[in-house]
Symmetry: C2
Subunit: 426 residues, 2 copies
């Protein structure tokens, strides 16, 4: 029976049951952190053999003859460019293999735009009265953090089941030349797990921005991070954009943070050759090279894209049961109550749920008091402000299945409790 | 006999000899790059065992229980902080252990100052009409490149045998509040190899800047890079500054680029806790963490400061003969001619020479035509402009001794040739 269809007496009885269950749960003294999309230790274990591929007797020479141990090679070693160009479906002169963090590549790209502009900018963005970014939401809190950090005004774009609301994106981008960018996680979006439809990607590739220096920040963080055999596919935005010569509009990012090791992986940026020429000139002021030994370690271990895909199968075996448990629990505990909506992702790192309005903060608070830390409610919106207070990001990857089950039980009770209280107060 | 004391006939005869020698040299078809301060392959070989210390069966847990393989730990792992705090003589809460490049730490520090200011800034530096940096010269071209990149006006400060001309530094810093910083390589300065005297360090630590947000960029790149047993010592600037509460004025940088591997080492930044608090808040927008696995690799390999110093002894054994050869050759070939001045460094990576005025570019050109690429003449000055065209940076570390000997022979002939031509033209 739906909670919204209960009468007052039924709601009160429901609430009393919830309170009893919740208090019993609190007494267990749980202590779990589900706030970030971190891989579990078991996922890190499967890549430990990577640490064996380079040792003191290894020939450290790259394919082009350069010594990976010495200075130089700003844009990455050739074999790493090949590997990650294959992963993203771009050519080797359209990629920079960077350091350990795609977040840093994205931050640095915006920082350079602020102080120098991008290719085609009339002036550095920091010299403009106003810079605006479109922010599909719910979205990735660290994207929004970068904007806030640089005083970039954020405009929330609703996420639909096909990706961002493209009518709104097209309108804003074409009308307002202070709109300089948009953040996208096009595959298994953070947090919804939505993959942009072919039509959405085509509409992105064909945007006609008022700003000549508008950029799509295509954070393809989960490009190979499938959870099912029957997984989503994403159209290659560069292929689409090249059809109409609009490829300069795109900056793509990815990393091996959730393929090899978070914080000790390799991050990449893809862009048109014209964009890269402008970027590399400025990048040469900041870096002589990124860590080429770690690049070599990754290539010698994975060998090729097949090697990466095989590793992702191993991750899938660990992660799929966790996601299945979360989704089953939501179905079982909340499926008939009509108080929570969610998308069932086939890849990525999150499950995103929407509560009744004005309940998300309360649910997160109840979970916290019960011993489970979730991502803060609102974090998935610009300025941490979810106007309807509905969205919560669940990150099932880090805890073991047993812990995750307990955490999800607590979560479901918390949703019930917050919802029934809301309905009783109306 | 000094070249300046020769009559015209003697000079002409001298020139004819030089031309003959130079042409014979060119015929050898040399092809050597001495443009950058790169370690030689033999230096990289001695650190290869570092690649064995972490392998697939290693416990990757840090001293504080965190998993080095996962996200988090923005300011570095505790054991790395301890190791490098010991190296720089600061405490573990005064240090950030960063990524693979101190250049990036320095660039990022200036970039943040431009967009956000430093602790105590009234506004971001990019909002000021004018930002000036003092640049002791000859100095490190990449420091000057960062300033130029951000439109920071550079003021050349002459280098004396005790370090920068402190009378000039004190005057400019105290009179002009648009002077926001100064670049220093206080130990074995790049390129002169001069270590700042105790008095110079004390005067730095006691500067009274007009700008409340003035910073000393103390690039201690060669802090343990000795070439002789009887080596220079550098006063600890933080110890001095703390005596008068001026420690917020200092940003110190260093790295293992020339201890372990260039581009795959570990870089560090030291600053007061108050400075670090301001920095870490902004840094958290750019990084979740630096590469903690590589930090762990370095600590497990070196173990402690003694381990680093032992490694530097190994480097010294390789480098000392190269520097001795360069200095001997200069003495032997040019010592009596009065056409070249140089300082004999007891550490660092360079030998810096000053030609007769308006000869440096020509010497570099002659070397290039003879097959040896040197650092561009002028590169050691702001805006690549050495007003007297005298300074040339010699980087003896990369070639093997045999190649270096040939290169230095060519260099000496080139100096003679350029000098005699200049004297004949006067």
């Amino acid at each position: 029976m739906k909670l919204t269809e209960m009468n007052k007496a039924e709601l009160e009885s429901f609430r009393n049951e919830c309170v009893k269950e919740y208090e019993a749960f609190k007494a267990q003294g749980l202590k779990l952190d589900m706030s970030r999309g971190k891989p579990g230790a078991d996922q890190l274990d499967i890549t430990m053999p990577m640490l064996d591929v380079l040792n003191s007797s290894t020939d450290m020479t790259c394919e082009d003859g350069t010594d990976s141990r010495n200075y130089g090679g700003l844009t990455g070693i050739p074999e790493a460019k090949k590997l990650f160009a294959d992963m993203l479906g771009v050519s080797t002169d359209e990629i920079i293999v960077g350091g350990n963090a795609s977040l840093a590549l994205m931050y640095d790209t915006i920082a350079r735009a602020m102080t120098h502009g991008v290719l085609g900018s009339e002036k550095p963005w920091c010299k403009l009265d106003k810079v605006k970014f479109l922010c599909p939401a719910p979205g990735y809190d660290r994207h929004f953090g970068i904007c806030e950090n640089f005083g970039i005004e954020m405009i929330t774009i609703p996420m639909l089941s096909t990706g961002p609301d493209m009518d709104m994106v097209e309108k804003l981008v074409s009308e307002d030349d202070s709109v300089k960018g948009i953040w996208c996680v096009p595959m298994y979006s953070n947090p919804d797990g939505i993959t942009y439809s072919d039509e959405t990607v085509k509409r992105f590739a064909n945007l006609s921005p008022a700003a000549k220096d508008f950029r799509i920040f295509w954070d393809n963080a989960y490009c190979v991070h499938h959870l099912c055999d029957d997984h989503d596919t994403l159209l290659n935005i560069f292929d689409e954009a090249k059809k109409t010569g609009k490829e300069d509009m795109i900056f793509e990012f990815a990393s091996t943070s959730k393929i090899s090791f978070p914080g000790a992986g390799v991050a990449v940026m893809a862009a048109s050759k014209a964009n890269l020429d402008q970027i590399v000139k400025l990048l040469g002021m900041q870096y002589i090279s990124y860590d080429k030994i770690n690049q070599l370690r990754h290539v010698r271990y994975f060998k090729n894209l097949d090697g990466i895909m095989a590793k992702m199968e191993e991750h899938k075996k660990i992660l799929a049961p966790k996601f299945a448990m979360v989704l089953d629990m939501l179905d079982k505990e909340l499926g008939e109550l009509g108080i929570l909506e969610w998308h069932k992702p086939t890849g990525g790192y999150f499950v995103s749920v929407n509560t009744l309005s004005n309940c998300a903060k309360k649910v997160v608070q109840y979970c916290k008091e019960g011993g489970v830390v979730l991502t803060g409610a609102g974090a998935t919106y610009p300025y941490k402000n979810d106007p309807a207070d509905r969205n919560i990001r669940i990150a099932p990857t880090y805890p073991c299945v047993a812990d995750l089950e307990k955490a999800m039980q607590l979560f479901c009770i918390s949703v019930k409790l917050a919802s029934v209280e809301k309905l009783l107060a109306e």
